[in-house]
Amino acid sequence: MNQALVNPELVNRVERLQADYVDCIDDERYADWPGFFLEECLYTIISRDNARRGLPFGFLWCENRRMLRDRIASMKNANIYEPHTYRHVLGRTSVRPAEAGGWRARTSYMLARVMHDGGMDLFSTGAYEDWIVEDEGTLRFREKRVVTDSGRIDALIVIPF
């Protein structure tokens, strides 16, 4: 990663974006979550093993902001699950210019899942592999690939992360 090609102010903005992104989820402001993405975007959660083997299908796949909204709508209106929230802890982000414009950013995450009854688990660890672009003065995700270290999920994923 050649951080030198990216000015520190931009790195700062990208890290701020990551912080705001996870805060939105951890703070349960799910309706705001699609706003972090471009209208035409990619959001996927895939295991590291599948990614390494070149297997394209992961746990979920959204290819525009409308699908992100549908995820949230389904979560609120259709799906059945026990109430729970997330808590993310992020590592520093490494940023480099993307060939097609914008920047590639990679950020480690650890994610705890806190159930309504107080039960708490380390639910997922992995890395965000993002493609970030400037969209009318705001940084947004053109792509967010959540690469989970484990290919095994405890029970279910309903809240995006």
């Binding site: 796949w61 525009n64 699950y81 279910l156």
Partner: protein, 416 residues
């Protein structure tokens, strides 16, 4: 052979038929141990791999028969083998990295070496060092092979059994179940993704769920809300093998909600008319098979599932872990000759299934909802009378016939 040293605590079945299931069957650790012996090591065919997971000579993958770890290998002649992943010497696991390619199976502990069929080839220092030490002269390599299972491959599905009494696979499956497998696995497939899911419940609760066509549009409201799958669609349930196997099928676009409980607003939680998809391409599909069937869930006793949910195709293997935990392995696939458009539709529809599946995620927790609530319910039973009391084919999916079938087969095989 049944091992009678494993006698489960007395479990009272209130009826001779399969309409009542005592809750203790989900919580009794002795019964769990006996299942491993009688069912999984007994005369059942257990799905262990897809043959395309081990395409080349020397390929192997680790899998499970019940909770027994096994190795599935392909030898130099192309023959597929399955054996317990346990060295005959002192019991170490032979392979512990999931999958790969190897010349032979050499144990890391003391380097005993087996061929890919599990035959012991050599013992390190068998004759000692300069003829000092070593194994006794009467030590016979041929008597210390790995514990092998019989293997049969049917349309790319690798099944294994540890019992000599298990009938040939085709006979075990029966004509109808075999022809449904052949329908889906009709040409070369391509694996698109794999993952697994921890279920905090007894394995039988998941198999009940798979065979329970009654719950589909009630628990999984995503489907019914978008009219993808409602019990009023044309469909039915087939049960075979004395109830052991089942196939639930339906045809989309054949129903009207008129005259059913779907019409009465507020009656069913599934009714949410104001909920529409912002991007309906998520569920865009094409008719995959000539028979017009758009949804089919098939289970082969004890723990194998073949799924067609529109164009979302997958096999699932359920692995019991303990009396109250299991792991569900998914292999999502398409066909090698899929067009780019078909591939894209499968990719979008992959959102419907798996642990994050908009349709299927509830199956990841419903077993636990039962497990946690029945663990002290001695002398109480579940009720299985939807669609009657029999184990027989049903014209409607508003039926628990598949679940009754499971219990009928289970009791017969477990002799309880």
């Amino acid at each position: 052979m049944q091992d009678h040293s494993l006698i489960p605590a007395a479990i009272e079945w209130p009826t001779a038929d399969a309409t009542r299931v005592p809750f203790e069957v989900f919580t009794d650790p002795e019964l769990y141990a006996r299942e491993q012996q009688v069912l999984f090591r007994g005369p059942t065919w257990n799905f262990v791999a897809l043959d395309i997971e081990i395409p080349d000579p020397g390929d192997y993958k680790t899998s499970f028969v019940g909770d027994t770890p096994v190795l599935v290998t392909r030898d130099q002649d192309g023959t597929v083998h399955c054996m317990v992943n346990r060295c005959a010497h002192r019991g170490s696991a032979l392979k512990f990295d999931g999958s790969g390619n190897t010349q032979d199976l050499t144990c890391v502990y003391h380097n005993w070496r087996y061929d890919l069929a599990g035959n012991l080839q050599s013992v390190a220092f068998q004759h000692g060092v300069r003829q000092v030490g070593g194994m006794p002269p009467d030590f016979d390599l041929a008597r210390h092979n790995l514990r092998r299972a019989r293997v049969e491959v049917f349309h790319g599905l690798v099944f294994a059994t540890f019992s000599d009494e298990t009938p040939p696979l085709r006979e075990y499956l029966g004509e109808r179940m075999a022809s449904h497998i052949a329908r889906v696995l009709n040409r070369p497939i391509r694996i698109l993704g794999t993952y697994s899911q921890t279920l905090h419940s007894n394995w039988k609760l998941y198999m009940e769920n798979v065979k329970d066509s009654y719950h589909a549009s009630l628990l999984h409201t995503f489907f019914s809300t978008f009219k993808l799958n409602r019990l009023s669609m044309q469909g039915g349930v087939l049960v075979d093998g004395g109830g052991a196997h089942h196939l639930s099928w339906s045809r989309r676009g054949t129903d009207t909600a008129a005259g059913t409980e779907y019409e009465k607003a507020g009656e069913l939680r599934a009714q949410l008319d104001d909920f529409t998809l912002a991007d309906p391409t998520l569920i865009k599909s094409w008719l995959e098979y000539d028979d017009g069937i758009t949804h089919s869930i098939q289970s082969i006793f004890p723990c194998f599932v073949l799924q067609q949910i529109q164009n979302s195709l997958a096999v699932r293997l359920l692995v019991p872990r303990s009396v109250d935990e299991s792991e569900l392995f998914w292999i999502v696939f398409g066909y090698a000759d899929d067009t780019p458009e078909q591939y894209d539709m499968r990719l979008r529809q992959s959102n419907l299934i798996g642990p994050a599946g908009l349709v299927s995620m509830e199956d990841g927790i419903i077993g636990n909802f039962i497990q946690r609530s029945v663990h002290r319910e001695q002398g109480r039973s579940a009720i299985l009378e939807m669609g009657g009391k029999e184990v027989e084919d049903q014209q409607s999916r508003v039926s628990e016939a598949g679940v009754r079938g499971f219990w009928q087969a289970y009791r017969a095989r477990m002799d309880i």
